[in-house]
């Protein structure tokens, strides 16, 4: 089991480095997909099967598809020109890196000093039922009902916002199309329900 942990951990770290080191956005996206998949593997070694499956379905299977889709649609070649304009970010990077390192150190210390207990109170349930759909569902709809509902409302707001933005764009498009002198625009591909 520990071999698996190190295997998935190593893949996740290498792929994550790949995400930030690649110039071509599509390679970065692929690196991110690999990272997410190996994170799912790590979840499996922690006997959180449900989270592992959802990790792949939601992040790797849906969100990253949209990322790759957008990169392909816009046909972004490589991000080189914009780096020079944001030189101040380099000076910001060092303190942020140190802060992050401090956070990691703090978390590792607190985890190491008292041995970690997954449920904060009471005895730990056996590993077989820890990460199953039943246990997560029960927890989600009893102990964590408020955060769950709040998240749902948040997502609903995001959906409504996205619809509003898409709608406004459509009206602008229609106005453009009505203008008789409008040049034929550069090639666009009609994809998805929004266009």
């Amino acid at each position: 089991m520990e071999i698996l942990f190190f295997l998935f951990g190593a893949i996740a770290v290498v792929a994550a480095l790949n995400v930030i080191l690649q110039r071509n956005p599509i390679y970065s996206a692929i690196g991110l997909i690999v990272t997410l998949c190996s994170l799912a593997g790590l979840f499996l070694t922690l006997s959180a099967q449900f989270i592992a499956a959802i990790q792949i379905i939601v992040y790797a299977g849906a969100i990253m598809v949209l990322f790759v889709f957008t990169i392909m649609l816009l046909n972004v070649r490589s991000e080189e020109s914009k780096v020079d304009r944001q030189k101040f970010l380099r000076w910001l990077a060092v303190p942020l890196f140190l802060a992050l390192l401090g956070e990691v150190y703090y978390v590792v210390r607190t985890v190491n000093n008292p041995p970690l207990q997954i449920p904060a109170t009471g005895a730990a349930p056996p590993a077989e039922i820890l990460g199953t759909v039943e246990s997560i569902g029960r927890e989600m709809f009893t102990s964590y009902l408020l955060p769950f509902e709040a998240t749902s409302v948040l997502i609903l707001m995001a959906i409504v916002g996205a619809m509003l933005l898409a709608r406004r764009e459509k009206e602008v498009d229609a106005a453009k199309r009505q203008a008789p002198t409008a040049e034929p625009e550069e090639e666009t591909v009609a994809i998805g329900p929004g266009h």
């Binding site: 449900f50 379905i57 299977g61 949209l66 790759v68 590993a127 199953t132 994809i191 329900p193």
Partner: protein
């Protein structure tokens, strides 16, 4: 968690058997498709290689292997080579959870389950892997550096993401009724004397219909084969692929057809259940494959019958009709579940 060697060896043997059986079935599905299409269109079809053309799949394979393996100059080489692999591997990985049959007795060996393994997230495992299959198509379209491929890949990813929603939502009703995501458990929940325990008859006809339509769209088959509409896009995302790499896309498409047929069988038609399965467990295999072959035949039948959708029709149908119906089905199933308990 300790891993014992006996389990590993048993699983390995099962994986090898299942892999080869499924490969042979896929090869003969291709042949069946060509022969059935020929019959429907009133012609003969391939019947020269072997009796009734039964050796045709092997001749095709030989041809795929012997052909020149072209890599066009303008492609992005790494992704171009990666794409067929990314499509094929998840398509075959899912077969470890297929519940082919119940536990049977093999003489001199003992009790054997006719499935490689069972996971308590079996159904989610299948959906997770099939949702990764879209990357192969997207990458193939992008890496080929050709407008037809790119358009095919874009269309395909949009279509698969859209229909994946209604596909996943349509099975929730069946899952609620069996109270488990474990495919074996779902099958056992539908055991009844003469197929009367099937989810199809017990309150899931809407779920079944939505699942079937979404599954056909998800596997890019007629009438939803927009990604490879010949008249518009040559061959869509695999325009620039030849020889064995094309064969891998082809195989992955058929493997995905097999997967959705298996899931339809397991979720709605009772899997291996049928008359006398309790007495003769091996009969379960027969029932299982009979049901799966019915769905595969349905695919071929549809291909011979229906014209292709237009792209906006496809998107409107998916988002404005199938998705609300799938959601409605969840509400109805939940209401029925509450009332009957």
């Amino acid at each position: 968690m300790s891993v014992d060697a006996g389990f590993l060896i048993e699983a390995l043997i099962k994986i090898i058997i299942v892999f080869h059986v499924v490969l042979i079935i896929l090869a003969y599905t291709v042949l069946a498709e060509r022969r059935v299409l020929a019959v429907i269109q009133n012609r003969l079809g391939p019947n020269r290689v072997g009796t009734f053309g039964l050796l045709q799949p092997f001749a095709d394979l030989l041809k795929f292997i012997m052909k020149e393996d072209l890599i066009p100059m303008a492609v992005n080489k790494y992704l171009y080579l990666l794409a067929p692999i990314v499509t094929l591997v998840p398509a075959f990985m899912v077969m470890i959870v297929y519940p082919f049959g119940p536990t049977v007795r093999i003489p001199y060996f003992g009790q054997v389950d006719l499935y490689v393994t069972r996971l308590n997230i079996g159904l989610l495992f299948v959906f997770a892997l099939t949702s990764l299959g879209v990357y192969g198509i997207v990458l193939a379209g992008w890496a080929s550096n050709s407008k037809y491929s790119l358009l095919g890949g874009l269309r395909s990813s949009a279509q698969m993401v859209s229909y994946e929603l209604s596909l996943s939502l349509s099975v929730i009703g069946a899952v609620m009724q069996s109270g488990s995501l474990d495919l074996v458990e779902i099958v056992k929940n539908q055991s009844g004397a003469w197929g009367m325990g099937w989810h199809l008859f017990w309150f899931q006809p809407i779920g079944f219909a939505v699942y079937l339509i979404s599954a056909i769209a998800e596997t890019n088959r007629v009438p939803f084969d927009l990604p490879e509409a010949e008249t518009e896009l040559v061959a869509g995302f695999h325009t620039e692929y030849s020889a064995m790499k094309f064969a891998m896309f082809f195989l992955a498409e058929y493997a995905n057809m097999f997967t959705v047929s298996v899931i339809a069988t397991v979720l709605f038609l009772g899997g291996w259940n049928g008359p006398f399965v309790e007495q003769l467990p091996w009969l379960g295999l027969v029932y299982f494959f009979a049901k799966v072959f019915f769905f595969l035949f349905l695919y071929i039948w549809l291909r011979a019958t229906l014209p292709r959708f237009r792209y906006d029709q496809l998107m409107n149908f998916g988002w404005k009709f199938l998705l609300p119906v799938a959601l409605l089905n969840i509400v109805i199933s939940a209401a029925i579940g509450v009332l009957t308990f």
